[in-house]
Amino acid sequence: MSTQTATPPPRFGPAIPRKRSKKRIGGWRWAGRGILAFLLLFTALPMAWMIITSLKSQLAALQYPPQWWPEEVTFQNYIQLLSPNNEVGQEFLQYFWNSFYVSILSTILGVAVAVPAAYAFSRFRFPGRQFLFFSVLLRNMFPAVVFLMPLFLLMKWLGLVNTHGSLILTYLTFGLPLSIWLLKGFYDNIPVQLEQAARIDGATRFQAFFYIVMPLSSPGIIATGIYAFIMAWNEYVYALTFMNSKDKLTLPVGLQRFFAEYATNWPGLMAASFIMSVPVVVLFLVLQKYFVRALTEGAVKS
């Protein structure tokens, strides 16, 4: 039956319908491009201004009308921040390392917990599954600040205040719900027959997961990893509340304190902000194709 309708007559080819559709949506396409261009400017201009300012001297940065392009390009701000030989650089690098350490650990732990959790939610039917699955989201229904005091008291009780452990734990509670939900969508779309086939082919349940399912879900794992990393990297309020010794601050907090001590050094602040955004941008550039695949594949049934 299906053979009769399967193939359209080949004589006309796909050219005719495509041409027509292009014409029809031309106007909308240009409108869409206009909106995208506007959004691009909206998001890119502040960053461009950040970079431009970071290349100015303090004096040039405060001029009015502003120098749209620095008359004298200087890398002094970057050199100062990145050299371990002066006090400013030492502090900055310490913050950078703290942020990196906290973010990487919350990412690794987050993925290590989210992957098996999401897999279990996707594959197994157990009592309380639905309840657990939605209660995972409970945390995300409230603004983060609501949990500031309770978590602080909890950390105090655990003796974790002013340790990076408190931040890692907190970031896990933020990141895990979305990671689990995202990954579950991913596992839902991997046909269970693949694992069944692997188990019949001689794999244990774990081997079937490790050799067959894990590689297929790597885009999802990478995406959740990026998400967890960026969230931990940028977090401010909890880092501000939980950390009080100067050598344990993370970048977002460190930057603010650091530059408030001197009269605000705008070019220096901008340079530090730029350096702070580098890991995130690099992560995205390297892994963006996985990220896009994860968000689309997880959502659309193949």
Binding site: M1, Q193, A197, I200, D201, A203
Partner: protein, 365 residues
């Protein structure tokens, strides 16, 4: 190769019996089709044999081993899935090699076995491709190759042809049958398409509602269905079933319709009809055993043509006998019209009689 024995196998989900005390034996080298409508428990039965789901009760033997508590990997079986379940991130070669790798064969052994399986299935030129670069028929072959490469005791197949287009399905059906003949493999094959079961299987197990209805050769199932379900499921178009009532006139026995016409029964059929638990009897007739007359003749019953469906070499005519439909096959040269009044003649030697209450086939006492 090995035989497969199911003994009182049960699978329940809560209070629902997905598989209800099914017992059957698949002899060594036999091709058995599990057939039935969706939700009849056939795929569940297959998954129980594979060990992919846990049994609620009963025993399964593969060869001389009781496999109730064995993992799928230890049952020495191979399975072909409806969606093929090829590993999408592996090349065809690696797909075929995976079962061998899991069994820790040496690299050279793996290569030799994969190549020989690929040769048998004529997929050697596809070995470096990924599954998504293959056509449906090619994927089907690769899936078969992955089952074949390991020389398992039993092949399990879960509707392996249903994702193919009609033409390819017929072609692959022939090839599968040939493949079974050459390998003398034990095959358990699940399908909802009774035609596949009839054409390929040595024996067919018809299931409905979790129960095994009948387990016999396709010919016996076709000729002697044990109940109304099997009668209406096997054969295309389905057997026509007409609910009637037994009436006796002295020693003569007839079937009476709600419309009032009567069909006298032969001596043999009369004996069968009288074993019915109630007066209700259902008459079953295959389209090829029913004759259509355009004029009233003795021994016929009146009806009205509902539709005429020419298929080329045979024309199927649906005739309403009161509220029930009888399908008649005609030579295309016979011209009949919808709403035409006609008379139906049943072949007394070929009709089936079922107990109207229990729906079981009636046999002579």
């Amino acid at each position: 190769m090995a035989e497969v024995v199911l003994n009182q196998v049960v699978k329940t989900y809560g209070n629902v019996y997905a598989v209800n005390h099914v017992s059957l034996t698949v002899a060594d080298g036999e091709f058995v089709a599990l057939v039935g409508p969706s939700g009849c428990g056939k795929t569940t039965t297959l998954n129980l044999i594979a060990g992919l789901i846990e049994m609620s009760g009963g025993d399964i033997h593969i060869g001389d081993r009781l496999v109730n508590d064995l993992d799928p990997k230890d049952r020495d079986i191979a399975m072909v899935f409806q969606n093929y379940a090829l590993y999408p991130n592996k090349t065809v070669f690696k797909n075929l090699a995976f079962p061998l790798q899991m069994r820790k064969l040496s690299k050279s052994d793996i290569e030799a076995k994969v190549l020989s399986a690929a040769k048998v299935l004529d997929i050697t030129h596809l070995l470096e491709r990924k599954p998504r670069e293959l056509s449906g028929g090619q994927q089907q072959r690769v899936a078969l190759g992955r089952a074949l490469v390991r020389d398992p005791r039993v092949f399990l197949m879960d509707e392996p042809l249903s994702n193919l287009d009609a033409k390819l399905r017929v072609q692959m059906r022939t090839e599968l049958k040939r493949f079974h003949q050459d390998l003398q493999a034990t095959v358990v094959y699940v399908t909802h398409d009774q035609l596949e079961a009839v054409t390929m299987a040595d024996k067919m197990a018809v299931m409905n509602g979790g129960f095994l209805q009948q387990y016999d050769s396709p010919k016996n199932v076709f000729d002697n269905p044990v109940n109304m379900f099997v009668a209406s499921f096997v054969g295309s178009p389905a057997m026509s079933l007409v609910p009637l009532e037994v009436v006796t006139h002295g020693t003569d026995v007839a079937l009476r319709s709600p419309e009032g016409w009567q069909l006298p029964l032969s001596a043999a059929n009369a004996r069968k009809a009288l074993t019915s638990t109630t007066a209700k009897v259902v008459l079953g007739a295959r389209h090829s055993t029913v004759k259509l007359h355009t004029t009233q003749t003795p021994g016929t019953v009146p009806g009205v043509i509902y539709t005429v469906e020419p298929t080329g070499d045979i024309t199927f005519v649906q005739v309403f006998l009161g509220a029930s439909v009888v399908i008649v096959s005609l030579d295309p040269s016979v011209i009949v019209e919808p709403d035409q009044k006609v008379w139906i003649e049943f072949d007394q030697d070929k009709i089936h009689l079922f107990d109207g209450a229990t729906e079981m086939a009636l046999a002579a006492a």
